[in-house]
């Protein structure tokens, strides 16, 4: 298991370093000058040059790149051009919204999706199965931002139960903070729950027909006992894969959902930073996302190893 983990970690580290290189080079090629963007159209070329110097934009490519790389090793992501604030602090502030949002959405999608998938698989071919899968198909097709708008119309504009958007900091009022994440996390979770339900159903249907379930039945277990004790854990393998991928989808989905609910999350930070050519900030935020996604993949791989001993064995061999 340790050798397995080390190998996976090496893959994770290489992915991360390559991504850092690509991000820096690609963003450097973007047209547009941050200094001109800050100063607007009436600034003289001399003023723009003064600001470029102040921001360190007049340095050659390799020097800026080494500065960024060196800074990251000691946890310094640089200073935002447009906001004149340390990038690390700006991103940390936004993670306080995006991480709980993603986490809530993930938990919700599992709470909704997995039972539906199991129920549908256990009642395969029944009216309930067909009905649930039609619903799931619908859930996959509905874009989360549109669903979010519908939620706002019903729960905020009409019923006044929940805020239409915005965010109350955790420190000010934890209940208020949670309140402002309810609708966005539902909007984010629904399509993911639908996908999970479908994957769970398919996986469990496959497992139900497999030899070891028949063997368990032969030992005298009821179908339910066999499925719960042996089937579900086996069916979880493809579900885990999807969950790992879904984390990336959820993070991407927050960009749109954060706009609909005007939440101060990481997605909006990146969106605004790109619009303002605040490249230092974009780089920092993307690198952190890369870290989150590759990190999750790494953890998924480890979970795989835990759930499926065959993988470990194959690696050891």
């Amino acid at each position: 298991m340790i050798w397995f983990a080390v190998r996976k970690f090496f893959g994770f580290a290489v992915t991360f370093v390559v991504a850092a290189l690509v991000i820096f080079a690609a963003l450097d090629l973007l047209p547009g000058d941050p200094a001109r963007f800050i100063l607007g159209i009436n600034a003289t070329p001399e003023t723009v040059a003064a600001l470029q110097h102040q921001l360190g934009l007049d340095l050659p490519f390799w020097q800026r790149f080494l500065r960024w790389l060196g800074g990251m090793l000691v946890g310094d992501f640089g200073t935002s051009y447009a906001q004149n604030q340390p990038v690390g602090a700006l991103i940390a502030g936004r993670l306080a919204v995006t991480l709980p949002l993603t986490f809530l959405a993930m938990v919700l999608s599992m709470l909704i999706g997995l039972p539906i998938g199991i129920l549908a698989a256990r009642r395969r071919g029944s009216l309930a199965d067909t009905g649930l899968m039609v619903l799931a198909q619908f859930g996959v097709a509905v874009p989360n931002f549109w669903f979010g708008m519908l939620l706002v119309l019903l729960f905020s504009v009409t019923l006044h139960w929940l805020p239409p958007g915005g965010f109350i900091p955790w420190g000010d009022n934890p209940a208020g903070a949670l309140n402002s994440l309810v609708l966005p996390s539902i909007a984010l979770a629904l399509p993911q729950a639908a996908i999970l339900a479908r994957v769970m159903r398919t996986a469990l249907v496959d497992v139900q027909g497999s030899d070891f379930i028949r063997a368990a039945r032969a030992r005298g277990l009821t179908m339910s006992e066999a499925v719960w004790q042996h089937g579900v854990r086996n069916a979880l393998l493809p579900v885990l894969t999807i969950l790992g991928l879904q984390f990336a989808f959820l993070v991407a989905g927050t960009v749109i959902v954060e706009n609909v609910f005007y939440l101060p999350g990481l997605g909006r930070l990146i969106f605004d930073a790109i619009s303002a050519r605040d490249l230092v900030l974009v780089r920092g935020a993307i690198i952190i996302l890369v870290l989150a996604v590759t990190g999750t993949m790494f953890l998924t791989d480890l979970l795989y190893g835990w759930a499926d001993p065959r993988l470990r064995a194959r690696d050891a061999a």
């Binding site: 001109r36 800050i38 009436n42 700006l90 504009v157 706009n259 005007y262």
Partner: protein, 499 residues
């Protein structure tokens, strides 16, 4: 039941009703003193002297910071931190008398040294003031005594008092200036309290304010970039108003008694900018043909939901110097085709139009493309984002056509710079502008401003489309908001709730 009992019973009922009614009037409509206002864009920083983003002025102009003068709702110059001034007969020396008992929000006192410091900071060699060029006319700034400042100009300037009232010339204190980006300290009626990045920003009434104190006790700006989200936030009551929102959402609020819609004018002239140096736009007939091909009414309807005043030159209709020149080249496609033929392009030509990411440009470009296609000019629409627009179009001048709103007040002078991205080099026009800048007599200035407008209209330098409207939506119980936007900013000094 005896009469006495009936009377007592009646008295009890009456008292109870009176009590309930009294309770309701006391508590049913409590007077609010706070305001939640929506803003489309979040300011990157809060120092109005260090960036061009209008969102900075939307928050701090005249609320947190003040200048020597200020611009009122109608675009006129009013006294501010300078309560009066004298101008020397040669129009070169301005002596400003400063307000007394003024303190910054951190308690430090305001005096002439702060003015000298603020102005020298704009003029410094390493200055990053976005409007530095406007103040280049200043030769020196000196403190005569703590209440008096003398500003000497190198040449007479008819717009100096206006420029002194811009957010870019806000008076800052040397003690707090380095941290104004994140924690602005000014002399205005509101002081900065808190900024939750990405979410909201809070100001509160400054009780030590030297002038008329603000009616609102607390103001929260909520940043909502998405148009649908803004509409929902208003409908759900999460915000009480918005200074300027999508014109397309106005019908929702116009029918709702809880809201009032304020449509006013801005300083933004929406133009179809033409690269006057690049063929075929260097030919007057081609530019005239384009002017004849544009149907302003149709463009305003499509690009701005029908809100906005048509313009015939680069000048704001509410300005006292304005003259209506929309009839210079009226909509006439046949005439446009004839002019193209005269210019040697009987079959028209192809060009690209670079479209920045704002609704008026994105919608306007489609309408203009179809209007120009009718006279044989085929446009390829290229979407660009702001940094690209600033880099390619504005800085490098690499474009054929673009749609843009020029939101600076009184900015007709940009046409006198042949290096400006229109690449319009006209000595006659340049002569008018340099004379206008040096003239301080009102009547003479008006005459010159009219001459300048006429020259631009006749030369069809750009396609002059319409004045960008300001479309605000507010709670019906709010009063005192500015209907027009003669300068960037959302001035809240007079805003208050009514029953």
């Amino acid at each position: 039941m005896s009469a006495r009992n009936i009377i007592i019973a009646l008295a009890v009922v009456v008292l109870a009703i009176a009590g309930v009614l009294g309770y309701m009037t006391m508590n049913g409509t409590p007077q609010r003193a706070d305001l939640r206002i929506g803003l489309v864009l979040e300011p990157p920083i809060l120092d109005p002297t260090a960036g061009a983003a209008t969102a900075i002025d939307d928050v701090v102009y005249q609320n947190v910071f003040e200048g020597l003068t200020r611009i009122d709702e109608h675009g006129a110059v009013q006294p501010a931190l300078a309560t009066s001034w004298e101008i020397s007969p040669d129009n070169l020396i301005y002596t400003f008398h400063l307000a007394k008992n003024v303190t910054f929000h951190d308690g430090t006192t305001f005096d002439a040294d702060d003015v000298v410091y603020s102005y020298n900071r704009i003029l410094a060699a390493d200055s990053v003031n976005a409007q530095k060029a406007l103040y280049a006319v200043i030769a020196s700034v000196t403190a005569v005594d703590p209440q008096t400042v003398k500003i000497v100009l190198s040449a007479p300037s008819g717009r100096f008092l206006f420029d002194a009232g811009r957010g870019d010339a806000s008076i800052v204190a040397p003690e707090s200036e380095p941290t104004n980006d994140a924690k602005p300290i000014g002399t205005g009626p509101f002081k900065f309290i808190d900024w939750q990045k990405g979410a909201n920003l809070t100001l509160a009434r400054y009780d030590g304010y030297w002038g008329t104190k603000a009616a609102l006790g607390k103001v929260t700006y909520v940043f909502i970039a998405d148009g649908v989200a803004r509409t929902n936030a208003l409908l759900a009551g999460d915000i009480d108003g918005i200074n300027n929102t999508d014109a397309t959402s106005l019908p929702v609020f116009a029918k709702d008694a809880r809201f009032k819609v304020l449509v006013g004018s801005t300083e933004g002239e929406v133009i179809l900018a033409q690269n006057n140096a690049r063929p075929p736009f260097d030919k007057l007939q081609v530019r005239q043909a384009i002017a004849h091909a544009l149907n302003r009414e149709e463009i305003i309807k499509g690009a701005s939901s029908g809100y906005g005043v048509p313009i015939g030159s680069h000048f704001a209709p509410h300005n006292p110097y304005y003259i209506d020149l929309t009839g210079t080249y009226p909509y006439d496609p046949a005439k446009a085709k004839a002019l193209l033929a005269e210019a040697g392009l009987p079959d028209g030509f192809s060009a690209t139009i670079k479209v920045p990411p704002v609704p008026y440009a994105q919608l306007g470009a489609q309408i203009i493309a179809s209007e120009l296609a009718e006279v044989g000019i085929k446009l390829t629409q290229v979407a660009v984002d702001w940094p690209q627009w600033l880099g390619d179009v504005f800085t490098k001048g690499d474009y054929d056509l673009t749609i843009i709103s020029h939101s600076e007040p009184f900015d007709i002078g940009i046409y006198a710079d042949p290096n400006y991205y229109f690449h319009y080099n006209d000595p006659d026009f340049q002569a008018i502008i340099s004379k206008l800048n040096a003239t301080t007599d009102e009547a003479a200035r008006k005459e010159l401003a009219i001459a300048a407008q006429k020259r631009l209209a006749e030369q069809a330098v750009n396609g002059f489309l319409f004045e960008l409207p300001k479309t605000g939506v507010w709670n019906a119980k709010l009063e005192g908001m500015w209907q027009n936007e003669p300068i960037e900013g959302v001035v809240l000094t007079g805003v208050h709730w009514v029953k």
